[in-house]
């Protein structure tokens, strides 16, 4: 009998703490599959954020550090400068990367730090109970925008890829979504591209992943996928936002 589907070696066999329908599990698996395919598990050092993915080291079967909230790119910079031949990635959510860690991500990109950043955007703070994130849609109800996000007082969703695209050091910026199997496969390819850019020492790359949060969207897992296609993708354009590596 031939085994055609199994847990990647880069994932541990642990029970997940993520909610039903959450996208983090998919992103973890995609990263792990790519690491297996590139045979880099023993060189990888991941940096986990503060947020729902803080427990990433429970699932990833390679070295993982935990950074202070938003400082993940600075920590990844320190690791990569010390061990330039290792493969370093930062895994961040929307609050971590686009609110408290805005300075760190902008400057890591501007220095073209040779790291990969996987940015999970589900438009909400999950770990703390569903507050407004910088990427929350206008009108979206959260714990801290009970009547829906109001542009007049809280601004509009930050488009991280577009924001970083003006920086010369940001070499590859891709936005994908977990809403359909075909979109998921495109995210996997982007993750692979990002690692390959790092392996060939081409500089900073970031993959933004639009990801479902059924718990704090107040939707079922299936409705959440439709919500991505019908609402989020109207604001967040999919595809390669920038590629100066080719």
């Amino acid at each position: 009998m031939r085994e055609i589907y199994k847990k990647p070696e880069a994932l541990k066999d642990n029970i997940t703490h993520y909610c039903p329908g959450c996208g983090h599990g998919i992103v973890h698996r995609l990263i792990a599959e790519v690491i297996d395919e590139l045979k880099i598990r023993e060189q990888v050092i991941g940096v986990a954020p503060v947020g729902c993915a803080v427990l990433a080291y429970n699932y990833f079967n390679f070295d993982v550090a935990e950074a202070a909230h938003g400082r993940t790119p600075a920590v990844a910079t320190g690791i990569k400068r010390a061990l330039p031949d290792n493969i370093v990635f930062s895994y961040q959510g929307d609050g971590d990367l686009a609110a408290i860690g805005t300075a760190e991500i902008v400057h890591a990109a501007n220095r073209s730090e040779n790291i990969s950043v996987f940015f999970v955007n589900n438009t909400v703070y999950g770990m703390t109970g569903g507050q407004m994130a910088p990427t929350t849609l206008e009108g979206q109800k959260t714990l801290t925008t009970p009547s829906g996000r109001e542009k007049k007082t809280t601004g509009s969703p930050i488009k991280v890829c577009e924001l970083l695209s003006v920086l010369e050091g940001a070499r590859y910026l891709y936005r994908g979504a977990l809403s359909t199997p075909s979109n998921i496969l495109k995210v996997k390819k982007a993750i692979k591209d990002s690692f390959q850019i790092q392996i060939t020492k081409k500089g900073f790359s970031l993959v933004e992943i639009i990801s479902p949060c059924p718990t704090y969207w107040g939707l079922t897992p299936l409705e959440s996928l439709q919500y991505i296609d019908n609402n989020l993708l109207k604001v967040f354009a999919l595809g390669e936002i920038k590629n100066t590596v080719r």
């Binding site: 023993e42 993982v64 550090a65 950074a67 202070a68 320190g78 690791i79 290792n86 400057h107």
Partner: protein, 349 residues
């Protein structure tokens, strides 16, 4: 005898760090420690190390965190407002038990304060600053040679205990020049890295973290940290005394004020007053027991600081009788003069 070089304090500490094998320096401009960043930007290049000007002190300390978790010798330096900004990172480094050297070339505060020398970050250095139960091993050099010696030792101890060591000096010590001799460039000590993140080749994956959610685990972690701090209290206390054994009037001071007090002791002795000096070199752990012993022999104790009275709280705590303790201090960049100290001592007798 080793050849001496005339350098300023900031260069003395930079070169001492290089000699101790520090190859990762992350910093952000702030006066009065800018000689460190400029010196390191040249010197790290010469020795094949990494100099990186960070976007903020928040980033500097977290870059130190990143380099330190690979088992590398890493350092950052700053001055008071910048050190305040680093407190989050310092707490995380402590929680993760990472070795690193952090230097505070103190200036006047609070707030933006000024750029004149000060010692007003004593509380921040020895009582915490960041959140949680943690300690830093804190060295307070009083001469430029001590800056060299204790910077070198800071890297040794940081590695030995897997913890942060802080050099607490002030703007005056950073700017002034004195001849110093440096230890030979040596790779004689390197950090153990059997705990570090280096990629899981031929071993189980590791994680470095300060989050412990399971019941009881964080308390166990804290107990193990406290055990380590207890060992440091036992082994690492350093202090200096000058004519203290028969002192009727005991002056106490750290860092630059220690030099002033030495002069004051000489002048007081010239006036027939049996004065002496007790100078802690490690501010944490504080040489409390030794001081209690000395305090019993003295009739009056003065604590001299460039702040509104910070170490004096520890002096009062450890003195055999706190009513003996007087305070002589200046703030906001003011430096007590030797004659001011002598006058205060004789006037208050």
């Amino acid at each position: 005898m080793k050849e001496k070089q005339l350098v300023c304090g900031n260069v003395a500490l930079s070169e001492a760090a290089i000699r101790a094998g520090c190859r990762f320096y992350f910093g952000y401009p702030i006066t009065p420690q800018n000689e460190v960043t400029s010196y390191m930007s040249l010197r790290m290049n010469e020795v094949g190390g990494v100099f990186l000007q960070a976007e903020s002190e928040l980033a500097s300390i977290n870059m130190v965190f990143g380099a330190a978790l690979t088992g590398a010798k890493a350092m950052t330096t700053s001055s008071s407002p910048g050190i305040s900004l680093m407190q989050e990172g310092i707490s995380y480094l402590a929680g993760c038990e990472l070795p690193a050297v952090v230097v505070n070339v103190m200036r006047g505060g609070p707030g933006l304060g000024n750029i004149a020398p000060s010692q007003s970050d004593y509380f921040q250095a020895v009582k915490g600053g960041g959140h949680g139960d943690y300690r830093l091993l804190v060295f307070a050099p009083s001469t430029l040679q001590e800056i060299v010696d204790y910077t070198y030792m800071a890297f040794l101890k940081a590695g030995e205990y897997r913890m942060q060591v802080m050099i607490l000096m002030d703007g005056l010590m950073g700017q002034m020049m004195e001849p110093v001799s440096f230890p030979e460039m040596s790779e004689s000590f390197s950090y153990r890295n059997d705990w570090a993140l280096t990629g899981c080749k031929k071993r189980e994956p590791r994680s470095i973290k300060s989050l412990f959610l399971e019941e009881g685990v964080l308390e166990r972690h804290n107990k193990s940290l406290q055990k380590k701090y207890g060992e440091i209290r036992e082994k690492e206390i350093l202090y200096d005394t000058f004519l203290a054994d028969d002192a009727d009037v005991l002056l106490t001071a750290f860092g630059f004020c220690g030099r002033l007090c030495k002069k004051a002791v000489e002048e007081l002795r010239g006036m027939g007053i049996k004065a002496g000096l007790f100078r802690p070199i490690t501010l944490w752990p504080f040489p409390g027991e030794v001081f209690t012993g000395l305090s019993k022999k003295s009739r009056k104790i003065f604590c001299v600081e460039m702040n509104a009275g910070q170490m004096v709280e520890d002096i009062m705590f450890y003195a055999d009788n706190k009513n003996k303790v007087g305070f002589i201090g200046r703030t906001g960049g003011g430096i007590p003069s030797v004659s001011e100290i002598v006058k205060a001592v004789t006037g208050k007798r």
